[in-house]
Amino acid sequence: MKILLEKLIVNYPYTIAVFLFAIGALIVITKSNLFKKLIGINIMESAIFLMFISSGNIRGAVEPVLNSAHSDLAYINPLPSALMLTGIVVSVSVTAFALALIIRLYKSYGTVDALKIAEMRNEVTKE
């Protein structure tokens, strides 16, 4: 138990990532507001980004820049960060697209509440 706790504390970025992920998932599940759901998704994605980036990080190492003053120290692996740039772009585009969809849903249903949308839809189907 102690070792586990120690691991959790030492690797705190990962712990936080897991926490974030759980929070995001909880939001997606429990909130019926579509925007909130979208935010939940974004939080989850952020958790993954955090995990990625922290995996590239070496405590005490420096940025991988040529002719740096700290060239004797270890470099941080730049690859995850670079990748996460792309990841963030992707995430943004998803968010944009989702927002567009939410707007369309709002236009047709007059609400952004998934519960109400479901109810309205069911009524339509029943008729």
């Binding site: 599940i29 429990t30 479901a118 069911n122």
Partner: protein, 631 residues
């Protein structure tokens, strides 16, 4: 070739009948006379010991094979003679009954198939004609087309077909036991598998026993024989049931009279003996209580078949020494055919004039029909075994056979001999009753018409002459025809046995006289006491018991079926219920997505995400279950 010509003639007759529907009356007579004459002269030489054979070669598994040895010849001549008699008798009778043409048609066809049976050279040919005969004679039974006739016809057809099936099984088993299916008339065969062979014989006995009216397979017989038009009844009772006996003789021949039966099958002969005795006894007891003349005669057919089966049983039991039983059986076949036809014809004459066959409504007819009465008397004497008539001869031989068996065989056989005497008494009593009630006693109140014709009496007279002829010179037929036949059947020492036999000794004569006297006394007592009206309660008769068994089996099948159906249906129902439940559940799952789990509203994609995460959990759990070492 002769054999085929013999068979072709009745077919020719059929064709003629079909062509000349308006003037058919003479055709049967011409045809039967031709067949009879041709048969008599053509088959005379067979008794010399050289059988005739003829094959119709057909490529394939089945060869139509014909042969005529002395046994066949006896049967052929006997049947053609009876057909001749009936063809003299029937045109007149059928005027009274109606639908004469169709009757004659099936008479011709039946003659054809009967000849086929007797002339068949292998078992399958025989079976072919056996089944044909069933179908053609079926039309005799249902000739009247009324309810009773159709019911009797149904039983007749059913039992006959079952008999055919059982015979088929017997043939198959025999074929398997002997490698090559034995041809008829080839004497005993050497089986590869004696037990199977024995069982095949047992099966054949059952199969032919149905036709022969062997107890307890006789149930169809009295009904069928009594509803047919009288000439038909006469032939059914006189000849058709003998086909069963013929089959039994042939079956016995294959075993070499028990020699080739395996050690495990020795019970077969005793069983046959017992069955013969039972058949005799039950037939006669039933006959005693009948009031319908034709039914009485029909039950007597059962009883007399019992004699024949008993004779065969003796033959099988004693093996090489059983010649007496066997020749008695064959002799009795001939004799029974003669007097039973005569009796039926006589009853038919009375029926034509009175329209009645119930004995208690008839009476005092001897004045009106003296000739018929005399001819009937001859026949009655014949069947009761009065010395001087043919029945005496065969019954005596049979009795000798039974005595021989009693002397050499098991102790219980003494009861067979005693019952033999009892049956003799019963026979005498019932015919005394028949004759008394018909011709003497209180004159009938029925209106009597004058539609008679001398032809009827001529037909009966023909038989009576033959009967008396045989009765007075019993040795002639025995030596000239029956002994060669029995010899050909594989019992070599028969001539010597028969040479020692004398019909006219004191012991036999006195025995018969005592039997007759006792019979008349029983009849008198019975008529006085009214015991002839007494019927056994249904559950004690064979019919009743068989009915009970059949019902029981039916009930068991019914229950089984119901159970089966229940099981199948309930499986079906459960399946259906489950699947519809599943369907509705699935549909619910698919359609409505709002439910509350742990206080969280699961709607739409919320539920989907929950499922997603849940399934990840499931996969991890599954994985950990599969790899506990990783934990």
């Amino acid at each position: 070739m002769l054999l085929v010509i013999l068979m072709a003639i009745p077919l020719l007759g059929t064709v003629a009948l079909l062509l000349m529907r308006d003037r058919f009356a003479k055709i049967p007579f011409v045809i039967t006379l031709t067949v009879f004459v041709l048969g008599l002269f053509g088959l005379k030489d067979v008794f010399g010991g050289i059988p005739l054979t003829y094959n119709i070669a057909m490529p394939g598994p089945f060869v139509l094979n014909f042969q005529a040895d002395s046994l066949s010849a006896i049967f052929v001549i006997l049947s053609t003679f009876l057909w001749l008699v009936v063809s003299i008798y029937s045109p007149k009778y059928m005027e009274h009954e109606g639908r004469g043409w169709s009757f004659q048609l099936c008479t011709m066809l039946t003659l054809f198939s009967v000849l086929g049976i007797f002339l068949a050279g292998n078992m399958i040919t025989m079976l072919l004609f056996f089944e044909l005969m069933t179908i053609t004679s079926y039309f005799w039974v249902i000739h009247r087309w009324n309810k009773e006739a159709i019911r009797a016809g149904y039983f007749y057809l059913f039992f006959s077909i079952v008999g055919g099936l059982v015979v088929t099984l017997g043939i198959v088993m025999m074929g398997s036991a002997t490698d090559v299916l034995p041809t008829i008339g080839s004497g005993m065969v050497t089986p590869l598998n004696p037990t199977l062979f024995g069982w095949s014989i047992a099966t054949l006995i059952v199969g032919f026993g149905i036709k022969a009216g062997m107890v307890p397979l006789h149930l169809w017989l009295p009904h069928a024989h009594s509803v047919a038009p009288t000439p038909g009844s006469a032939l059914l009772s006189g000849l058709i049931i003998k086909i069963g006996a013929y089959g039994l003789i042939r079956a016995g021949e294959f075993t070499g009279w028990g020699i080739k039966l395996g050690d495990s099958m020795t019970w077969l002969a005793s069983t046959l003996l017992i069955l013969g005795t039972l058949t005799m006894l039950l037939g006669v007891l039933n006959a005693l209580i009948q009031s319908n003349a034709k039914k009485l005669l029909a039950y007597h057919s059962v009883s007399q078949m019992g004699y024949i089966i008993l004779g065969l049983g003796v033959g099988l039991y004693l093996g090489a020494d059983g010649g007496l039983g066997l020749s008695g059986a064959i002799y009795h076949i001939i004799n029974h055919a003669l007097f039973k036809v005569a009796l039926f014809l006589g009853v038919g004459v009375i029926y034509i004039h009175t329209g009645e066959t119930n004995l208690y409504k008839l009476g005092g007819l001897w004045r009106r029909f003296p000739v018929t009465a005399i001819l009937m008397l001859v026949a009655v004497f014949g069947i009761t075994g009065t010395p001087g008539l043919n029945g005496y001869a065969s019954k005596t031989i049979l009795h000798h056979g039974v005595s021989l068996a009693t002397e050499t065989g098991a102790p219980w056989l003494i009861w067979v001999e005693r019952l033999f005497m009892v049956v003799g008494v019963g026979t005498a009593a019932s015919f005394a009753k028949l004759y008394y009630l018909m011709f003497f006693g209180k004159p009938t109140e029925l209106k009597i018409n004058d539609e008679g014709s001398p032809k009827l009496q001529i037909a009966m007279g023909l038989i009576a002459v033959v009967m008396i002829g045989i009765g007075t010179r019993p040795e002639f037929l025995l030596n000239s025809a029956i002994a060669p036949a029995v010899e050909a059947l594989g019992i070599e020492n028969i001539s010597t046995t028969l040479a020692h036999l004398s019909f006219w000794n004191f012991h036999d004569l006195s025995g018969m006289i005592i039997t007759l006297t006792l019979g008349i006394l029983v009849c008198w007592g019975g008529l006085k006491s009214g015991i002839f009206h007494w019927h056994l309660p249904t559950y004690m008769t064979i019919e009743g018991i068989v009915k009970l068994i059949v019902r029981g089996i039916a009930a068991i099948i019914q229950i089984g079926l119901k159970g089966y159906v229940y099981v199948v249906e309930s499986i079906h129902h459960i399946g259906e219920a489950m699947s519809s439940r599943l369907c509705s559940d699935l549909r619910k799952f698919d359609k409505s997505k709002s439910s509350t789990v742990f206080g969280i509203n699961l709607i739409g994609i919320t539920a989907d995400v929950a499922i997603l995460i849940l399934s990840l959990g499931v996969i991890i759990v599954l994985y950990t279950l599969m790899n506990p070492s990783l934990l």
